[in-house]
Point group: C2
Chain length 255, copies 2
């Protein structure tokens, strides 16, 4: 079972879109896939028409019951082979309640290990902040995918994100490969083109060698509660995520 | 002194861009203006070339010293008449450390009251999450500006945001007016046009009657560390924020 985290402390860079797109593609290939919503705001759960105000049981109950995973927590998404472990707004209180308790960072890891025979791919959607939820996601996964918007400030934010990851990595034994993914790329905008060149210069070894282009069809797809890769398999955005998945799968073999 | 909060739990909707743009306009009009960065990721501070990893003293020290505001916390931005109270990454620990302490939600309000004669406009930039920082911002301000991206999921997120605000409002005596601002509007995209119609239907009394259009020059401006309203006063984005400020100022008279 491969577990991948999609994270960036910057908001609105395409984390949820990446989880939905890659999750949809894995399911379409016949791999039993689970997507997990760690964001108290619940974008991933809303995408699949669940209401984070009334989800129960969900990820919050998993944390409150010390990692006890119940079958009722795994929900259908309307896409064959794709299941969802939804978020609820109550997750926003976890940092205050459990943030300093010993072993708090390993709860999700232990819970997902029990699913080993049931799923082949698990994707974790993180909230746009560094807290106990992101720490849990990083501890539970073998690889981190970091979407970055191709604009100047996002590169500054990426420096901080990489420092955060380095800090968290120090407490792991095995290395955790990272893939930086340029998103919302608009080749007509000078800022996009220049930022991509800057990223290629500063992060040449971790940066994916392609980009996810801006594609307004992503907004249509979220309205239909379907991944774009399912709704319009040949849209520009779908093709780009298909190329990304090929790269991640090729390097994941060594995980 | 008018204090306005710009907040939305959804990431990447234009919160920081709104604070920078409105702050720039107020300063250009000769109003002494302060912008405050409450986001541990520090986008507003980075915008004006401060490094959230090394800011000290900043907002974190203000919270740690129980609201003690020192002159060294107020920094220049390179824009005449515009000052910045910067964030540091350490703010991410506040929820865990201070989240349940009594009176924790009023620290910023008390600190800003001491600036009453020094500034005429204060704008608070919130992180994309509900926590002690957002609660402080809402308690310290007379009005809330809520940027919303014109896409389907954002409207679902807005419902949750409004419920959150209603929950926090219950503990206030005076009403806190709210202005919902459609951002990143692209009239060529069906999802944008349909979502705007939906917003106009569901939130007719709180919704601003205009939109902030998608304008790639915002990305250029952040690269120059200048508000777009200063760099290119007649860009589409600048003109839209000028119209928004006119609406907010007209209704703020009653605050
Ligand atoms: N390649 C793309 N082209 C066009 N729109 C996109 C693309 N990727 C994402 N979007 C849109 O941008 C917005 C933000 O994307 P998304 O919600 O996935 O970001 P996020 O990083 O998960 O945000 P948050 O920080 O709030 O969790 C959404 O409206 C989404 O539809
Ligand atoms: N009207 C607009 N047109 C084009 N780009 C915009 C517009 N408003 C904001 N942006 C761009 O969208 C991105 C997100 O904006 P911004 O950082 O202001 O959002 P935010 O809500 O503050 O994000 P976060 O949730 O991370 O704090 C930035 O790259 C910004 O330059
Ligand atoms: Mg998201
Ligand atoms: Mg911001």
């Amino acid at each position: 079972m491969h577990v991948w985290t999609v994270a960036n402390q910057k908001g609105g860079v395409g984390k949820t879109t990446t989880v939905v797109s890659l999750g949809g593609l894995c399911a379409q290939r016949g791999l039993r896939t689970l997507v997990v919503d760690l964001d108290p705001h619940g974008s991933l759960s809303s995408y699949f028409r669940l209401d984070p105000e009334s989800v129960n049981p969900g990820l919050y109950e998993l944390f409150r019951n010390d990692g006890q995973l119940e079958p009722a927590m795994l929900r259908p998404t309307g896409v064959e082979g794709l299941s969802l472990l939804p978020a609820s707004t109550a997750l926003a209180t976890l940092d205050r309640q459990l943030g300093t308790r010993k072993g708090m960072g390993l709860i999700l890891r232990r819970a997902l290990q029990r699913l080993d025979g049931e799923f082949e791919r698990v994707l974790l959607d993180c909230p746009p902040m560094l807290g106990v939820l992101m720490v849990n996601a990083l501890a539970a996964s073998q690889r981190v995918i970091i979407p970055v918007q191709t604009e100047f400030l996002a590169v500054k934010g990426l420096e901080r994100m990489m420092r955060t990851l380095a800090m968290i990595q120090r407490s792991r034994n095995e290395a955790q490969p990272q893939t930086i993914v340029p998103t919302l790329y608009d080749q007509r905008t000078r800022a996009s083109v220049e930022t991509l060149a800057l990223l290629r210069h500063e992060y040449s070894d971790l940066l994916w060698d392609d980009v996810i282009p801006e594609d307004t069809l992503f907004r249509e797809a979220s309205k239909q509660a379907l991944p774009l890769t399912v709704l319009r398999p040949w849209a520009r955005g779908s093709q780009a995520y298909r190329r990304l998945l090929a790269t991640v799968e090729a390097t994941a073999e060594d995980d």
